[in-house]
């Protein structure tokens, strides 16, 4: 294994991101315990987290907020995004375009090292005085500026992640531009490659805004400036000794300028994966390939002008508010086009219900639900009611957990034979799928209702002190048990991966897929292709089977 081989780097990304996924999941289990049984001692908590975080086994609010903030941070920045973009992209894109490697292998390796270092820094900050960042994954000032030193580690980590994603995005796009096999014109690229290119562009153009914001916030925390601190700020009735005169909303603008596109960074690769899996497992060419490519480019581009729909309640004025409500409604058009094309692709297909296919099929309604529930959030009148409630949590988790995560599982089942030369066990796979599907919905569906009732998110006690939350409290226990069960089903998956990697049924191209990566041996040797491929047609040749 050469260190700068794209397959090595892609795998390293995949394994590291999967490790962070486990971390993010465990953090969630901890705070889900607290939500289900607020204030009740958790056995062994004191032993693990010490008296300062969990005296007598009871999680302190300060610690709860660290867990929540770091769950969001780890899941998005360290787990799902790196897996979906740099992980899958670095491994698969050179294969799918018939290249022998990356344009800048050393930069790609550097990107991985920076990512891993940033991740370790952020997670290790749990050991800093005052613990890890505790101001939400959104890190809104003034709170974040007054927070303990873990927030500084968070900011440094985010800055480094920006550097890392810039490097890997550059590498990916340059590879696609310059290293395609002869005959592989742009309109013959697999849809997954398009999805990766658009995603890379988004990361490259949007992440710098968060880096700039991080620089400003670091100045506020370390150099005592007031870029995000307004005049006259007092904490517990004690005036702060800063000059003031800054603007907390500036952070929100810069943060969401990245963080909204970041959502599409999760979703677009997922769409790419689902397109590849649906076509191969339903033996159907992609319906309206050209339209889909245009739609995904439009979706990516347009996602950069909707950011302030996260700020409808900040009093930014009706002109701004109207503008962002309109752009938000418009952005749903290309999403609907994509989803429709994917569904119509199935029409008349010969569907094989493999595990990969099940996950990809489940992605469609789960993503649909997440998308549809977003519309009321994008309109100010309904946003007033829903903002910052559990409804929001339900909405975006449907996009990222049963949505994107299911697509990532589909990717693992689909491309595992490519990476290892062996198949994952289908029976264990279907158990994994069924269990995950049921438990995911059991966790997240109730969140919509809780939100409609009016329960706020980020409540340490799940709303115990509010009368309105009373009827929803008892749902929390079943949600937590569902989360635990979800974890158990992931153990099945883990076992399947470990066992099949060594003893699974040998397979070279078990799905008879027609995209270029399957033309290389499985697993691909250094340099990928035995004879450099020459392309003479489109990526999907399934309809031709029927003719």
């Amino acid at each position: 294994m050469r260190l700068s081989d794209h397959k090595t780097i892609g795998l390293a990304y995949g394994v590291t991101a999967a490790g962070f996924l486990v971390v993010g999941f465990l953090l969630m289990l901890l705070f889900r315990w607290q939500l289900a049984w607020p204030g009740q001692p958790m056995p062994i908590a004191t032993a693990i987290f010490g008296e300062t975080n969990a005296p007598g086994g009871i999680l302190l609010p300060e610690f709860y907020y660290q867990l929540v903030a770091m769950h969001g941070t780890v899941m998005i920045f360290l787990a799902v995004v790196p897996f979906a973009t740099a992980g899958l992209g670095t491994y698969l894109v050179p294969l799918q375009i018939g290249a022998s490697g990356l344009a800048f292998p050393r930069l790609s390796l550097l990107a991985f090292v920076v990512y891993a270092a940033a991740g370790l820094l952020m997670v290790a900050s749990f050991a800093m005085p005052g613990g890890a960042a505790n101001s939400g994954w959104t890190s809104y000032p003034p709170l974040a500026i007054l927070a303990s030193s873990g927030q500084t580690a968070w900011l440094a980590g985010v800055f480094l992640l920006g550097v890392s994603s810039m490097l890997s995005a550059m590498t990916l796009i340059a590879t696609v531009v310059a290293h395609r096999a002869p005959g592989l014109w742009l309109r013959r690229l697999p849809f997954f490659v398009w999805a990766q290119v658009v995603t890379a562009l988004l990361l490259l153009l949007a992440f710098p805004a968060l880096q700039a914001a991080a620089v400003f916030q670091l100045m506020d925390r370390v150099a005592g400036t007031s870029v995000f601190l307004p005049s006259g700020l007092a904490v517990s009735n004690v005036p702060l000794t800063v000059s003031g005169g800054g603007n907390p909303l500036l952070w929100q603008h810069l943060f969401w300028f990245l963080a909204h596109p970041e959502v599409y960074v999760l979703v677009l690769p997922a769409m790419g994966i689902v397109a590849e899996v649906l076509t191969a497992h339903a033996r159907r060419n992609l319906w309206r390939y050209g339209l889909m490519v245009n739609a995904i480019a439009a979706l990516g581009g347009w996602s950069m002008v909707v950011w302030a729909h996260h700020m409808l309640l900040t009093g930014m004025g009706t002109t701004m508010s109207t503008f962002f409500q309109i752009t938000t409604v418009v952005v749903s058009v290309p999403s609907v086009i994509l989803l429709t094309c994917l569904v119509v692709t199935l029409w008349g297909g010969t569907i094989r219900f493999t595990t990969a296919m099940c996950f990809a099929l489940a992605f469609l309604p789960m993503f649909g639900l997440g998308g549809v529930t977003g519309l009321p959030l994008g309109l100010a009148p309904s946003n007033v009611i829903l903002h910052d409630t559990y409804y929001v949590l339900g909405h975006f988790h449907y996009l990222v957990a049963p949505g994107t995560l299911f697509a990532l599982f589909a990717a693992v089942y689909h491309w595992f034979p490519k990476v290892t030369g062996r198949r994952l066990d289908e029976r264990l796979g279907l158990v994994h799928f069924a269990g995950s599907f049921v438990t995911m919905n059991a966790i997240f569906l109730p969140m919509f209702l809780m939100g409609l009732v009016g329960v706020n998110r980020r409540l340490y006690d799940a709303g115990l002190q509010y009368e309105l939350a009373e009827p929803t409290l008892r749902w929390n226990a079943s949600m937590t048990w569902s989360a635990v069960t979800l974890g158990v089903f992931q153990l099945v998956f883990l076992w399947n991966v470990v066992r099949s990697a060594r003893r699974g049924e040998a397979a070279d191209n078990p799905w008879q897929a027609t995209t270029l990566e399957w033309a290389a041996p499985s697993p691909p040797p250094p340099g990928n292709f035995v004879t450099p491929p020459v392309v003479s047609g489109g990526p999907y040749r399934y309809d031709e089977e029927r003719a």
Binding site: A103, A178, A223, V227, G245, L254
Partner: protein, 191 residues
């Protein structure tokens, strides 16, 4: 694949990568700058020290002229690096001139910042000053980065045509630096 085709692909990839890199710098600096614009637009008073009498003690115009000149010089020398009308064997010399110009610029930034800080005009004194330090600091660091890249171009042992290509890319970077610097000056001092 023939050796020429491989070299072509490399060049195409490198050039694409450079454009993307520049785009991300534009976004980074643009975000800092629009932060500044938003802060400035949102506050009634904007007390930059040189508007309140300091400029007599501090030859602001000379200072700008100095720093603009150094960047302009770096752009000119990196232009030669791309091989336009210059014997390729002499190219490394121009790289060193680029390095020198960048280092002078950086040193001048540090000097001015130190001078201001010594008067008690530190970043935490006011939001305008915070903006001054952040915007100047960002340009200074990016310029220093350009100097380091120029050192690399000077020392790397590659065929002359390849070095010329690197020089052309370096030149694009320095053009951007000049643009950023002029925007900074306009924003911070003139508007």
């Amino acid at each position: 694949m023939s050796a020429i085709a491989v070299a072509d692909r490399r060049a195409q990839a490198a050039s694409t990568g450079m454009w993307l890199f520049l785009a991300s710098i534009v976004m980074f600096y643009g975000s800092l700058f629009s932060g500044f614009v938003l802060l400035r637009a949102g506050s009634e008073t904007w007390e930059m020290p040189w508007k309140t009498g300091l400029s007599a003690e501090w030859p602001m115009a000379v200072d700008h002229w100095f720093r603009t000149m150094w960047i302009g010089f770096a752009v000119m020398q990196s232009r030669r690096l791309s091989g336009a009308g210059v014997p390729v064997a002499g190219l490394p010399r121009y790289s060193w001139l680029v390095v020198l110009a960048g280092v002078f610029f950086f040193a001048r930034c540090v000097y001015v910042a130190g001078w201001l800080a010594a008067q008690g005009l530190v970043p935490s004194a006011s939001v305008p000053l915070a903006c001054w330090y952040v915007l100047n600091g960002a340009v200074a660091v990016l310029v220093l980065g350009g100097s380091i890249a120029a050192v690399w171009v000077a020392l790397e042992r590659v065929p002359p045509t390849q070095r010329a290509r690197r020089g052309a890319m370096l030149q694009r970077y320095w053009m951007l630096m000049l643009a950023l610097w002029l925007i900074t000056v306009t924003g911070l001092y003139l508007v």
